[in-house]
Amino acid sequence: MTQDKTEILKVEALKAYYQMNYFGVRREVRAVDDITVTMRRNEVYGIAGESSSGKTSFIKVLAAAIRPPLRVIEGTVKYEFKNGPIDVAHASPAQIEAVRWKHLSYIMQGSMSVLNPVRRIGKTFQDFAQRPLGLKGEAFEERVVNHLARLKLPPDVLKAYPHELSGGMRQRVTIGLATVCHPEFIIADEPTTALDVVVQKEVLSLIRDIQKEMGASVVFVTHDMSVHANVADRVGIIYAGRLVEEGPTRDMFFAPKHPYTAHLVASLPRIGDTQQRPALDGRPPNLADPPQGCRFHPRCPLAVDKCRKEVPPMEVVGPDHRTACWRWKDVEPLVNVSAPAGVMA
């Protein structure tokens, strides 16, 4: 897929910790520990990672939803929006307010419950979108109805209450809410996790279509690798607060260069499997007390002494493909997946 190579987001050496001091109990959870990543215009960037990997905290920083006890310790998060650049890690509330919803919007986890149950959908749209759009009354309604039609929602959805709609329809409404102002950057945190398989496919195809139409960038966060396989242009894997691998979707699935990625891809069950799929030992590290060196080493089948002592840096291993592993050259896909022609193995 041809991609617009211009950057819309540049995250540099970001460190965001939760610092809590409660009745003398001091805890510092290193949720985001030195992440550097860039995202481009008109692309879907998938972020994969499991629970307690720090990805939700990372998303919070990207969405400028930084509230104590979460604090940005170091680093910058610079967006290049049409109305100018902004570093959301250090911007003032007024500046953030100016870009929110109009240039930067989000579909949060559990978004179906983001709709106020005692307010009609139309009112919720007014609450969110009226000010950023700067339209009122009939002009506003027309714009919203046209947008909803794109999502295959009828205009009388505006008069309904959230509980009167099915789960799939509610999710489409939330996507509509996030996209009605035609933002340049959309953050989607597990938008389809609670949905059925059939509805999930529909909603994902909708997100993809809208993204292509608007030329927006979407950061799609989910732990479900099969979703990334079908939606993302590039995928970044976050483990224990760090980015461990990043690359084009095809390469990530057929030629991963980090043991964790290889494992995530291999552990996906498929219909037709009769053989036992490999399982990973141990559990994700406690972010308040992470391991020394490479954070994956306690669970890594390829770990050597160096991994326990030194943190591997991000190295470029292919076009647009980088990984943080001392032994990336030794990483093989765990299950014999036949790679289609044209992929660097």
Binding site: M20, Y22, G24
Partner: protein, 285 residues
């Protein structure tokens, strides 16, 4: 246990202040056990003496030394308040948890009874009891009666928490783990209810002492038994402010304010500490 105490004292200024105030009052009340004379006797000292080095809180028009009077009064009142609070907590926890968890007709019956007690006006009933029992109405009987009226509001509060807990998945697991209803309520649900119990404990103490003061000032209790209320009653009946014996009224009022403030601060700071959400955060969830 001690480390909890130490943490609270070190990091929570409200707890420290509350502890200090309540500590002073408890010590003061405890001194009544060492009183040189029976506080219900009168004309044991020269009347209407202002506070001095000999009589720290002065003496009142009935010839009683205020220091020992108030010491006994606070002991009796605090004892009274604690008794009412404990008894009514027991009733409200039992009713609230049972009604919320068991539901069905048990819930309906208990809430029906609850609402009756809420609707019944307490004051006329207390006066009625006084007229029936007269001099047989001692502190403990009144405590019992007040405890019977002090539980309904809090029972409903606790019931609402219990209703929420009933639908959480760990309750279902507890049932399939073979726990009896009693065990589920006492061991699983009670910790969630404790913050309410604590806050309402203090509330209840204050309310009951206030009730007792009201009754006493109007003369509807055994006025020879020294309590905060009866001290005020006598001060009133001897027109203390008019006559100029200001220490008879002002000093008890200052002490009352100190007690109530201390109890309140203690309750609020302890409450924050035992709240399940803050406990979870401290454990690192």
């Amino acid at each position: 246990m001690f480390s909890v105490f130490r943490d609270l004292v070190r990091y929570n200024i409200e707890f420290t202040i509350g502890l200090v105030l309540v500590g002073i009052m408890v010590v003061f009340a405890g001194l009544s056990f060492f009183a040189p004379m029976d506080p219900s006797l009168i004309y044991m000292a020269p009347p209407d003496q202002p506070p001095s080095t000999q009589y720290w809180f002065g003496t009142n028009s009935r010839g009683q030394e205020m220091f020992w009077q108030l010491s006994a009064a606070f002991k009796n009142s605090l004892q009274f308040g604690i008794t009412v609070a404990i008894l009514s907590r027991i009733i409200s926890i039992t009713v609230g948890l049972a009604a919320g968890y068991i539901g069905g007709w048990v819930d309906r019956v208990l809430m029906f009874v609850n609402d009756i007690f809420v609707a019944v006006p307490i004051f006329p009933i207390l006066v009625l009891f006084y007229f029936v029992l007269r001099n047989n109405m001692d502190s403990f009987t009144m405590a019992l009666i007040l405890a019977c009226f002090g539980w309904p509001f809090d029972a409903r509060l606790i019931r609402s928490v219990a209703l929420g807990l009933k639908h959480r998945e760990f309750t279902r697991h507890a049932v399939f783990a073979g726990m009896s209803t009693r065990k589920v309520l006492v061991e699983e649900h009670l910790p969630y209810v404790m913050p309410i119990v604590f806050a309402t404990f203090m509330n209840n103490m204050l309310w009951s002492i206030g009730m007792e003061v009201t009754l006493a000032v109007l003369g509807f209790t055994n006025i020879n038994n020294p309590t905060i209320g009866t001290v005020l009653y006598w001060a009133n009946s001897h027109s203390a402010m008019v006559v100029g014996v200001w220490w008879w009224l002002v000093i008890p009022v200052i002490l009352i304010v100190m007690t109530f403030l201390g109890l309140f601060l203690l309750a609020m700071s302890m409450n924050e500490y035992i709240d399940p959400r803050s406990r979870l955060r401290r454990m690192g969830a």
